[in-house]
Amino acid sequence: MPPWTAKTPPASAFETGESVSVLPGFSFKGKRREGREETSFSSSKCLLLPLFFSSFCGSLKEWVGDGKCARTSVSGAALVPFTNTGKLAEFHQARFRTVLSSMETLSFPSPSLSIAQDASPSYDELSMQRSLVFSDSLKDLRNLRSQLYSAAEYFELSYINDVQKQISVDSLKDYTVKALVNTVDHLGSVSCKVNGFLDEKVDEVSGTEFRVSSIEQRVRTCQEFIDHEGISQQSLVISTPRNTTLEVIIISVSVDQSLPVSGRHAIAQCQEIDLPREDRELQLFQPAVRLTIRDRPPPVRKFHSPSPLRRARSSSPSRKFHSPSPSPRPGNLQSSEGRAGSPIPASNPSPLYRYASFSRASTFLNSSNNVQRFPDEPRKSTSVLLHAEREDQKEADQNPGKSKRLLRALLSRRKSRRDDMLYMYLDEY
């Protein structure tokens, strides 16, 4: 490792006076005079100038390159932005201050140095000053190229025409070193600024991404809530037709029994009756009620004697229509309600409940046979049932006369003729 690559050059090596300045506003004529008159480079000092330059470049590279840019290298392996760029910038500024403190003997105004030395009271003023200095340094960096070209032409001409070539060579060396140092200073400042600006923007974009993610999460939550509400509404819509049919059947049965003539006019008024919640809970007991009704014999037959004639009539088509349907009468139902196996409480005072339960049972029995029932059907079945009962009562009233005729026929029958008449009479029945 050569000795001139030491990181901290001796400050005494740069005591060259205020002879050369390659900063903006540099006039070659005046500096030429200064260089010719005042600059007295010894060979040792000329050798030490590159030492400072190399060490300064190394420090600047560590400041900008190793500190921030090396981590965000080209490979892209570590593109994580710094979370605390302020502290890092302060650290680099302090480091740059220590590096430039050794340059104060060169006495050229550095933008970073001026930033560090100016202590503005408020943050806005400080930021304004920094932005102004940064813009000035950018302008200087743009003008540096033309200055370097003009300086190169000047030194070339002076070396050719001038007698004291050593002096011009020395001034050229000094000018080259300072110009390069100034260039490195400008580039470091600009790169640091650009890097910080990019990190700031990356942080802002990350914050914006977080906000957008939160908004998306909110929207997703709203959509899930809307879907849930829609599913619940659809489920309610599915269950409502079942309740409406039940209410219609209940009220139709009760109206048929109470008002057989004008029942249809009263149905529309009674449909608006709100059943209590217990009635809805009775739906849970409907299968049990259905079983009890199936096991129970038809209550209509209790009114009639189990005669063979009636049994023969029960197989007629009109009788077949009534036999599978339970269609119980309210009085019989109330007597059978008090059984222990009945799920419906016997202390239920409202007759509407019982009508409802049995009408539901009838509807479910019919629905189990896959027969669609309409609200008018139960009324028809109950009306047909009442008509059949009336006919049975009339037949019972006519039975004594027919029995007398039968006895007469039996008494007055003869052998062959009597048998034929008897069979004819029996065939009539």
């Binding site: 000329c46 590159p50 190394g58 990019l198 914006t208 809307i226």
Partner: protein, 84 residues
């Protein structure tokens, strides 16, 4: 005298050679540091480009997500029955 003049010439030549070596060393140092500066600038350019590309990608993603959100919000505002 001639011997003294020869010694003087030798010394002068030695001084000139030393000065030449010093100049060469100075130039090599300058060129080396200019190369380092160039390398730094290239590295900084690549890093800045990658950062800018990453930033651009993030902004594109954000723009698409915002467009999707905008469409969703406009759809929801066009159907107020969803909120009733």
């Amino acid at each position: 005298m001639a011997r003294a003049g020869g010694i003087t010439n030798a010394v002068n030549v030695g001084i000139a050679v030393q000065a030449d070596w010093e100049n060469r060393e100075f130039i090599s140092h300058i060129s080396l540091n200019v190369r380092r500066l160039f390398e730094f600038l290239v590295q900084f350019e690549a890093t800045t480009k990658s950062k800018l590309a990453q930033l651009n990608e993030k902004l594109d993603t954000l723009e698409r997500r915002l467009e999707v959100l905008e469409v969703q919000v406009s759809t929801a505002s066009a159907n107020p029955s969803l909120f009733t």
